[in-house]
């Protein structure tokens, strides 16, 4: 009985829980995207850490370029603490 619990019920419970959680947190997985202007004048989109949208003293950069919230240098420059 105990062996069945470990072999069957526990993994089945874990799998169901994980799948349920994946669907339950689906809305929280929206990509945080930032943009930077490369040396050739093209806007490059990158995934950035969420803290960069809070602002702060440390500039968020990618490949040495300042990241912006939108594809415009007049938009919010991303930074964190």
């Amino acid at each position: 009985m105990r062996s069945n619990f470990l072999k069957l019920v526990l993994p089945a419970f874990a799998i169901l829980l994980a799948v349920g959680l994946a669907f339950a947190t689906e809305d929280n997985t929206i990509a945080n995207e930032g943009y930077y202007l490369d040396d050739f004048g093209n806007w490059i989109t990158v995934t950035v850490e969420p803290e960069c949208f809070n602002g702060g003293q440390i500039a968020c950069t990618s490949d040495g370029h300042q990241l912006y919230a939108e594809k415009s240098t007049s938009s919010f420059p991303l930074a964190k603490n």
Partner: protein
């Protein structure tokens, strides 16, 4: 029945947590396969293999999660967990030299972690897999010894 201590229970607990992690992240990636693929395409070094990686990573995660519950394959699955998490962590560390923005294409709410928290998170699970391997090995030695005496 001989008392084999707390280690087999801990191996079960670690297997359970690794299963939760792998099934959760694999499902999240598969739900948003397009987003996951797009994020991979924007990553340095691996962008040309984005399509292949976007299928292989969740597939491997699900296979490892399944194998963790077959006694025969548990050791292989623990090694697989350690290697897979190790590869993710090394990749993050390498890319962070190139950019200070998190290169995260991981699944679910894990993608909202900062890079420090992410490395800590991965390291914790890698330690679990490593301890699982060591204890599993020791447990097998004890069992073999008990069977031969």
């Amino acid at each position: 029945m001989p008392n084999r201590g707390i280690y087999p229970k801990l191996i079960n607990l670690f297997s359970l947590l690794l299963t939760l992690l792998f099934v959760y992240t694999a499902t999240s990636k598969l739900i948003h396969l397009d987003t996951f693929q797009t994020r991979l395409e924007r990553m340095p070094y691996i962008s040309s293999y984005a399509t292949l990686i976007s299928w292989i990573v969740p597939f491997l995660e699900l296979v490892i999660a399944g194998l963790l519950w077959f006694q025969k394959y548990r050791k292989v699955a623990l090694y697989g967990s350690l290697v897979l998490l190790g590869v993710f962590t090394i990749y993050i560390l390498v890319v962070l030299n190139y950019s200070d923005s998190i290169p995260c294409s991981c699944g679910g709410i894990i993608s909202t972690l900062g890079w420090r928290a992410h490395i800590l998170f991965n390291t914790t699970f890698m330690i679990m897999a490593l301890l699982g391997i060591i204890w599993y090995h020791n447990d097998n030695i004890i069992q073999t010894h008990q069977n031969t005496t």
